[in-house]
């Protein structure tokens, strides 16, 4: 997976457009200064877009490209390449590769002659897509050619890669268009350079798991220092965890919708053993009585050989210790930590960072306490960030609104937390279909996914979820 930093040029400076609108241009500064701040490794590819050229149809920022090409970088230039002469001008400036957009969709003959003249290895056709429709002329017009036809045409030219931008995602930092790249995987054998929306290291890992994405262009997220190139490693084979949750009250498993309408769902030991047999990677027991039912914890811990997280009613260091002694490997704290954040630090110092799970029940972006019944003034993302600084080892993030609804995880909430903290986030609240688990990991950046009623009611088994994730390229145990 190659990482390609991107600089969009307008009037001699680096800018970013949102949704391709020129009026929305935000200026970042002189190209060299901007590039120096990005810590681009030697020999890396650099993506340069001449925005004015893409609109006017002739090369404009030739001096800048000449200067950037003198550095130890493989520069690929895009924007306004609509003739052999344009292409030759950019190559004369030192560009190694040419990114050609509009002609790929609207002038197939020219694209073919560019490939013939300069070689397939130097031409990177680019396709800009919005809502399934190919866009041309600096994104301003819709092409009459269908997506499938454009890709079939490009594939026949023998070029190795095609750059695909989902305009609705570009510059929006909401994550790349995984669905589009997945659709293309079925449509073409071309390797994809993904562009648009990449804003976290996890996005890069998720793209690499698709199998047909060979590189990704990163723009705004780098410019705004949301991620650094050195922080991105594509360790995409560490298994992601599936975690069934047992909500326990009075020694019985119960389940409610949005923390209310509680109903009985069985014996915790039987459930726990069944889940381990199904392949659960870890178990969570939340005691919704806000009491610390040590006996139940002990009985479950005695019956399983996978890690156990226990939460609910943990107020003090002594409560925390009692849960560990009863057999918990890790303990989740919520209400007591919000009321007195120092508890996180104290527990981390006493029992180790790995033992402390911050449970954050978010409602409308705010952290809630007492099983979701009381909304606080604490912003959920800020609270998670602070909990990490205080020593939380992982975050169990529950969307109170989605909990028990089977409507899917709150991906936006997940992304906002996973991009704000470095520690792992367990996604919780709303699982309904196998695809929801995929999306929580792929788009949400979660390192583990939790579900309760879905597994209790045997709508899905842990095995069903894992088989689906595997077919989607997401590693599981």
């Amino acid at each position: 997976m190659q990482l390609i930093p991107s600089l969009d040029l307008l009037n001699g400076r680096v800018v970013r457009l949102t949704h391709g609108e020129f009026a929305s241009a935000r200026v970042y500064g002189e190209p060299e200064a901007v590039l120096d701040a990005l810590d681009v490794p030697r020999g890396a590819r650099l993506h340069v877009v001449d925005l004015e050229a893409s609109r006017s149809g002739r090369p404009i920022e030739t001096d800048i490209v000449r200067r950037l090409s003198r550095r130890d970088l493989i520069v690929q230039v895009g924007g306004g390449i609509r003739s052999i002469d344009d292409a030759q001008r950019w190559l004369d400036c030192g560009a190694e590769r040419l990114v050609v957009g509009t002609v790929a969709a609207s002038a197939p003959a020219l694209l073919a002659s560019l490939v013939e003249t300069f070689g397939a290895g130097r031409i990177v056709p680019a396709v800009d897509i919005r809502d399934g429709v190919v866009r041309i002329d600096g994104w301003e017009r819709a092409s009459s050619t269908s997506m499938r036809e454009v890709f079939t045409r490009i594939e026949s030219l023998g070029v190795p890669e095609v750059l695909v931008t989902d305009i609705s995602k570009d510059g929006a930092l909401r994550g790349p268009s995984f669905a589009l790249y997945r659709e293309l995987r079925a449509m073409t054998r071309l390797k994809i350079i993904a562009s648009g929306g990449v804003s976290t290291a996890s996005d890069v890992v998720s793209l690499s798991r698709l199998g047909n994405v060979s590189a990704c262009v990163i723009g705004r997220a780098l410019l705004e220092k949301r991620i650094r190139l050195s922080e991105i490693t594509v360790s995409n084979s560490i298994p992601e965890r599936i975690i069934p949750c047992l909500d326990v009250r009075g020694g019985r498993v119960v389940k409610g919708v949005s923390f209310t309408n509680i109903r009985d769902a069985g014996d915790p030991v039987e459930c726990a053993m069944r889940y381990e047999a199904e392949g659960a990677d870890e178990l969570v027991i939340l005691d919704i009585d806000r009491g610390t039912d040590r006996d139940t914890i002990r009985r479950v811990a005695d019956a399983i050989f996978i890690p156990l997280i226990v939460g609910g009613g943990i107020r003090t260091l002594d409560d925390f210790r009692a849960m560990l002694r009863a057999g918990a490997d890790r303990v989740a704290i919520n209400t007591a930590a919000l009321l007195r954040p120092e508890l996180i630090r104290e527990c981390a110092e006493e029992f180790g960072v790995q033992a402390v799970v911050l449970s954050c029940d978010a409602k409308d972006g705010l952290a809630t306490i007492r099983s979701g019944s009381e909304v606080t003034h604490a912003d959920a993302v800020e609270w998670c960030r602070r909990a990490e600084a205080l020593g939380a080892g992982e975050i169990l993030l529950t969307s109170v609104d989605r909990d028990g609804t089977n409507r899917g995880f709150d991906i936006e909430l997940l992304r906002s937390v996973t991009s704000a903290v470095k520690i792992g986030v367990i996604a919780s609240g709303g699982a309904g279909r196998v695809e929801d688990f995929r999306d929580a990991i792929e788009s949400g950046g979660a390192r583990a996914v939790l579900a309760a009623s879905l597994f209790h009611d045997r709508v899905l088994t842990v095995g069903d979820v894992k088989r689906h994730l595997q077919t989607e390229g997401i590693p599981v145990r």
Binding site: S235, S237, P239, R241, F305, L324, G352, G424
Partner: protein, 197 residues
């Protein structure tokens, strides 16, 4: 098979005891140095900090007892921090000498992935401890420190770079992961240890 589990206050001994029993061990759980010195098959657990674990071994003279048992050809298995204690030295909170039973140093993971590592990770392993374990089988890890490329390495995993997931020198074994939390694969490793001869 008789197994002596060292009853360390800085370890979750109950979970390991349960798993060892499930793996077929006749278990003696003790912190008595004399009993450990005479034992033929010893498990050394450990969680928390290296220095706390090593200090406890020294104060109770269990360090000498383990060396004595090893010299008499006892089998030894270190788990997590117990595995780290087998090495020459650890650089957790300053530099602390370990038992020096296997060559190498324990250092903090540095890199882009969050530390501690919490979760399952694939292990490529060989040797009698991993008999019956398929390549790339995941085991459960919780650790901030590890040895890298140890001389006696028999298993390797990758987290912010390759690290030593298990060692073996003769009858001395160590595993960085938690076999007692690694479901059937972990129980198989424990059974292999309990039965090896």
């Amino acid at each position: 098979m008789n197994v002596t589990l060292i009853d360390s206050p800085v370890a979750n001994v109950a979970n390991i005891a349960r798993a060892l029993r499930a793996a077929g061990a006749e278990l003696q759980v003790t912190s008595d140095a004399d009993a450990i010195a005479r034992a033929s098959r010893i498990v050394l657990p450990g969680v928390g900090s290296f220095i706390a674990a090593m200090t406890w071994l020294e104060e109770t003279h269990i360090d000498a007892a383990i060396r004595e048992a090893v010299e008499r050809d006892a089998f030894l298995l270190g788990i997590c921090v117990g595995h780290q204690l087998l090495f020459d030295v650890s650089h957790e909170m300053g530099t602390t000498a370990g038992l020096g039973l296997v060559r190498g140093e324990v250092r903090k993971y540095e890199g882009p992935l969050p530390v501690p590592q919490i979760g399952w990770n694939r292990v490529d392993a060989r040797g009698p401890l991993f008999e019956g374990i398929a390549p790339a089988t995941p085991f459960y890890f919780v650790n901030s420190y590890a040895a890298r490329g140890a001389e006696s390495e028999v298993a390797r995993a990758d987290y912010n770079g390759a690290f030593t997931a298990a060692v073996q020198r003769g009858r001395i074994f160590g595993v960085q992961f938690h076999p007692e939390k690694s479901s059937t694969a972990g129980l198989r490793v424990l059974r292999n240890f309990v039965q090896c001869n």
